[in-house]
């Protein structure tokens, strides 16, 4: 009954609406690409937890992950995809809608 009276809210993207995944995406939106160690340092996450969340973002198509060897050490580089940028922008728009209505 209240449907017509309340503003229509979009669902917040569940992939992005989690602290660590949102932090990773917010970092990657500001750079061209970043090492796994850089992301871990900036988010203060554990390697295991970060690894799982990076994998979820990759599965969603939001980031590209390239694993390679650099000077005999494994190096993982992450980069946001155009699909990821779109999802991030959509997420921020929806957040703003929520906040506008809440204020």
């Amino acid at each position: 009954m209240l449907e017509g009276l309340l503003p229509m809210f979009k669902e917040l993207d569940p992939i992005l609406h989690s602290q660590l995944r949102l932090a990773v995406m917010s970092l990657l939106i500001g750079v061209k690409e970043a090492d796994f160690t850089f992301i871990r340092e900036k988010t203060n996450a554990t390697a295991g937890n970060l690894s799982v969340q990076v994998q979820k973002l990759r599965d969603a198509g939001y980031i590209d992950v390239v694993k390679q060897f650099k000077d005999n050490y494994p190096q993982t580089t992450c980069k946001i995809t155009s699909q990821g940028v779109k999802a991030f922008e959509e997420y921020v728009k929806t957040l703003q809608q929520y906040l506008k209505t809440g204020s």
């Binding site: 917040l12 609406h17 989690s18 602290q19 660590l20 995944r21 949102l22 932090a23 917010s26 970092l27 990657l28 939106i29 500001g30 750079v31 061209k32 690409e33 970043a34 090492d35 160690t37 850089f38 340092e41 900036k42 988010t43 203060n44 996450a45 937890n49 799982v52 969340q53 650099k70 000077d71 921020v92 957040l95 929520y98 906040l99 809440g102």
Partner: protein
Amino acid sequence: MSEEKKLTEQESLQLIADMIKKAKGSYHDTGIGSLLWGSVVSIASFVTYLQSVYKFSIGFDIWLIVVAAIVPQIFLAAREKKQTRAKQYDDDTVNAVWLVFGITIFGLSFYQAVIPDATTRLIHSNGWELIKRYTDGSKPDEVLKPFAPSLYSIYLLLYAFPTLVTGIVKKFRPMVVGALLSYIMFIISCFTATNYDMLLGAFTAIVCWFIPGIILRRKYLAGRAAANV
């Protein structure tokens, strides 16, 4: 930072703002490149000035140190590339500007070295030559080799170019100030003798690269110290 924690809308926006700020603050030039080029160009300019004013020679072309500085620069660039953990969108652009600047400077040096003889040959083939005539008639006329007058002014103009681009793109005020001072030095150099242009060049290299290099180095070392705490 945990994955499970659900965020309120305000917390989400705050987190996004914090992370974007952290990513932007991750640009840390080591400052070594700026210090290197600021040193060699200011030393070469200043020694050239001293040699011309006090009429002595150090026995070799001091500008060879600028050519020699390419070797450590290649080594530094390779090392910094290895150490870079996050690449900014504008890094490639800024690097390209400095590369083109380097090529232009060496092109101009080549021009400076080749043009006098090449022009002499060309005008000789046309059957004429340049003559230097003393207006007071105190000395006989001399054959003159063509040269580009006050060419170092053009170098000063060029020094400002990549410095100003980097300063604006990276929002690094010391380089913007250095570049603006460089333009002032360029204007002054248009009215001074070539040996004084060299003195202005030494000052320009110090304000464009050496001083910003010290500031970058301090910032870089402070950032590393903070990361190791």
